[in-house]
């Protein structure tokens, strides 16, 4: 709603009455008082209001028996540089937090692994189940930490000739594919001139999202890769419920997430990485979510 400033005499208003006005809900004209300013030299009260129109502001004052001396519509001037400074600070804090959490999480992860390796054969199923729960929780924290670190890491691409299958295999080695999900990889290897680590980050995100979308039902994730004349097209297609239509246009936006524990960084990082490679990534629905990555064919520079 637009913002308005009006001015009128202080009249009979006490400080308490003004405070109550700021705390109160919108009136029947849709007007909400946001703040008051007082100039003692001319004994005038200036009000900042959120209201549908100038008339509604006059009506609001008329109801409380005050005549406005003026009403004018104003706009907020956003200080973008301040916002970017704040964002940069938040980014630094998030990075530091992510780094700080990594080591204690790694201790927990290694201890669970040691318990499982050393004593797994003698543990009863209940304890094994608890260990599995802890493992899943740790994986979830790790995934969020990696999302933050992948997002802030601004590394120049280190391209090399690499096969899509080796990139996918590396990605899958850090993801637990549940037994209810059948994952199929491209039939044939397709060679890319790309940064394998960065593409692993992309597939990590897409596979993790697909697994979460399918949930506990039986499902499939199909990854295909084909070479066209001047480009390579890679698709990741899951059998989950798909992406709601209202969410699709915003799915690659920074900090946009529909998950309770999502960071809103994963798909944004995917888009950044693919665009760094000169490619595109698109999301659509086709009996489940379908992500299509198009990478230009490149030859190594000599």
């Amino acid at each position: 709603m637009p913002l308005f400033i009006d001015g009128h005499g202080l009249d009979r208003f006490s400080q308490k009455a003004l405070c109550d006005a700021v705390k109160s809900q919108r009136d029947k004209h849709g007007v909400k008082t946001l703040e008051f300013f007082y100039n003692k030299d001319d004994n005038r009260l200036y009000c900042l209001l959120d209201a549908p129109s100038k008339d509604s502001v006059y009506a609001h004052h008329h109801d409380i028996g005050v005549d406005c001396q003026f009403v004018t519509q104003v706009d907020t001037i956003k200080n973008d540089s301040l916002d970017s400074e704040k964002l940069a600070t938040i980014g630094q804090m998030a990075t530091r937090l992510a780094h700080d959490i990594r080591n204690p999480i790694s201790v927990l992860n290694n201890v669970i692994h040691i318990i499982d390796q050393k004593y797994g054969h003698s543990l009863n199923s209940e304890i094994k189940n608890y260990l599995q729960i802890m493992n899943t929780a740790i994986s979830s924290i790790n995934s969020q930490i990696n999302n933050v670190l992948d997002f802030v890491r601004i590394n120049p691409l280190k391209k090399s000739n690499t096969g899509i299958l080796s990139i996918l295999n590396e990605s899958m080695s850090s993801i637990l594919i549940p037994q209810n999900i059948k994952l199929s990889l491209p039939d044939e290897d397709v060679m890319l001139y790309a940064d394998p680590y960065q593409l692993q980050v992309v597939f990590n995100n897409l596979l993790t999202n697909a697994i979460q979308a399918i949930g506990e039902d039986a499902g499939t994730i199909q990854i295909k890769a084909i070479n066209k004349e001047d480009k390579t097209i890679i698709t990741v297609h899951d059998s989950g419920p798909g992406i709601p239509q209202d969410v699709l246009p915003r799915i690659f936006d920074l900090l946009f997430t529909t998950k309770q524990k999502g960071t809103g960084l994963g798909l944004f990082s995917c888009k950044n990485i693919i665009e760094q490679h000169g490619g595109t990534i698109e999301a659509s629905n086709s009996g489940g979510a379908l992500f299509t990555i198009t990478l230009p064919k490149e030859t190594p520079q000599k």
């Binding site: 780094h99 290694n110 390796q117």
Partner: protein
């Protein structure tokens, strides 16, 4: 919990995990060697990485390279302080 305390523990669990992963469930032997030869614990190797390298080489000989590879893989997942960076350089030398 201080970073130093945490990183000493991290070193311990990563070495133990790496030994298990390469089929050497022999953390006790490593700890005995460190205690008897250098009068230190596995956690103390955070400050004395050469002791760890010497003990691992002495005990596991050719398998050292495989153990080192596993240790490096696990340390690649964490945030390294200067001591841990230096420890990896010494183990790798």
């Amino acid at each position: 919990m201080t970073d130093r305390y945490l990183n000493r523990i991290l070193l311990r669990v990563i070495v133990e995990r790496s030994l298990l992963d390469v089929g050497e469930p022999t953390i006790d032997i490593l700890e005995n060697t460190l205690r008897e030869t250098y009068g230190c614990t596995l956690e103390d190797c955070y400050d004395h990485p050469q002791y760890l390298k010497d003990a691992l080489c002495e005990l596991f000989g050719r398998a050292y390279a495989q153990i080192l590879s596993s240790i490096k893989k696990e340390f690649a997942k964490v945030t390294l302080d200067k001591k841990l960076e230096s420890l990896l350089l010494i183990l790798d030398r």
